[in-house]
Amino acid sequence: MNWTWFHKLGSPKWFYEISGRWLPWISISAAVLMLVGGVLGLAYAPPDYQQGNSFRIIYIHVPAALLAQSTYISLAVAGIVGLVWKMKIADIALQQAAPIGAWMTVIALFTGAVWGKPTWGAWWVWDARLTAMLILLFLYFGIIALGHAITNRDSAAKACAILAIVGVVNIPIIKYSVDWWNTLHQPATFTLTEKPAMPVEMWLPLLIMTIGFYCFFAAVLLMRMRTEVLRRESRTRWAQAEVARQIGRKA
């Protein structure tokens, strides 16, 4: 297998160039998918026979919750890559993805609370799934705080990578909490292996929204990483040339 792409990926300059080319397309896809998914979910999907229209919250709740967990897994993967291959870009990805993951967890918890009120009659219950999601939020806070607390960049990268890897144990707990314990939270509505039990007008917006949320994550992550790459590479000639070009364009 040809591994050049992997080593290239470790080069901040190559990353900056390629991400600049991808970013517009990913951003447009995210905007279009989320808009289409939102309109279909809000206006065109039929109401749930038990929950009525409050179920429409699913179209942001589920994508945000999925993304919050995927983001955490990607932090752990970035942590492993950073520890094993000492790749600079991995630490940048970890640090920049953590706030996005935290925000997605906030969206999942908030929309869950707003959905819980009309459905369960309570904004919050200390249910296994909800509590595990709250722990995920605190793990994100821990990683963000740790990254800011340690001034030495290499030590900060190492500490955050280790916390990300250890914390990943929470992800299967979130996933299987609905099976292991008696929870108020319903079990997974969808599985990869079975046909969905709801009509296509109901699940298609969810699929579109989920892909849209992942594109959104990719776009915001690349945007954040590009600024951080420039900042960290400010001593190199290519980064100085890029900054000069950007300043010149604005002036």
């Binding site: 999907a45 409050s54 942001i60």
Partner: protein, 58 residues
């Protein structure tokens, strides 16, 4: 279209408050996630421009 009128769409069958607050807050958070990094990028370039000007004067 699942609703007969726009007011019905807004009402969401008595669940309007829940649905719209969930969508509104989430939308605001998503916008924040786009705007803050863009502002940070602009601020970085502004600071760099100031630094370069200062160095040029010396």
């Amino acid at each position: 279209m699942n609703f007969n009128s726009f007011s019905e769409f807004l009402a969401m069958g008595n669940h309007g408050v829940y649905v719209w607050s969930a969508y509104g807050v989430s939308c605001a958070i998503l916008v924040l996630n786009v705007v803050l990094p863009l502002l940070a990028r602009q601020r970085y370039f502004k600071n760099e421009a100031r630094r370069l000007r200062r160095e040029a004067q010396q």
